[in-house]
Symmetry: C2
Subunit: 171 residues, 2 copies
């Protein structure tokens, strides 16, 4: 069994969004800001999604509004900002969950919120973002992810499953 | 708007589990193997969890049995192998979903399976793994993740939400 508590750190790369370290000469670890994502449902039970090209995959994904937290920013404030930037809505937010994207090698945490009381409020988008807003039924999104017809993220799946749970509860 | 299709790749680091590239002098991208994770429920509606120390976080997480796919390995075969290594069970598997852990910077895909018809079958664990098996109620795990009492991963949340959905359906 390996020594579990890292005591020695070698810095490999310190970039714009990624910092790569090797701990104890053995564990490759990516440091990355935490991120936020938002589940917003409309009156028809559809989920607010964004479609965008992801260079890391070379693919266009279906996700929910999401983005990195800025230094010192509160998770709920970051979520409201991203929702305004990517979809043009402000809202009241309720925390759904927090989890790590891939704790085997990366420290990125994801704060997931539910948005209610949506009202129009747009903030300018980042220059390098080209995002299409689409409303989709959560059950359909889950079917398409399973069958490989749609490419999604951890936040897509989590939001769709929370949405489905709320719809089942309210029946 | 930036050029969406990367045409130029700079290799920064090529390690054991992480390969770091910069695309078009702009996009920091981590290449990482795809992984598998398994939701297994017992007759009491509890979910098979594993607890382990994660050097990338400096924390002990609650996750479901999971691990990286080996080169050329089929996702279901990898999931059966991980379930046997980490928890000592073989099972029949059903695909639940596929998603990317963090597509903004990383190409790691996650295949999630449901395991049924569990039977004891142990494979030796990797040398550097020190894992404790725990059965937990999905609703409790979700409450604890939201309140910050438990540290979990995308696979923990996804598995717990699928489990809850199945329990609600069968009521």
């Amino acid at each position: 069994m390996a020594d579990p508590v890292p005591t020695q750190t070698e810095l490999i790369y310190d970039g714009r969004i990624v910092r790569l370290e090797v701990l104890n000469g053995r564990y490759e670890v990516v440091r990355h800001a935490d991120a936020v994502a938002v589940l917003a449902l409309n009156g028809q039970g559809e989920m607010l999604c964004v479609s965008q090209f992801r260079p890391a995959l070379g693919l266009t994904t279906l996700e929910v509004p999401a983005g990195l937290m800025e230094k010192g920013e509160d998770p709920a404030a970051a979520a409201r900002r991203e929702l305004q930037e990517e979809a043009g809505f402000d809202a009241d937010l309720e925390k759904l969950t927090f989890f790590y994207a891939s704790p085997g090698f990366c420290d990125e945490g994801l704060h997931i919120f539910a948005a209610t009381n949506l009202r129009e409020s747009r903030l300018p988008m980042d220059d390098d973002e080209d995002i299409e807003v689409i409303w989709r039924r959560p059950a359909e999104v889950l079917d398409e992810l399973r069958d490989g017809r749609t490419v999604g993220s951890a936040t897509t799946v989590t939001a769709a499953l929370f949405a489905l749970g709320r719809q089942m509860e309210s029946r």
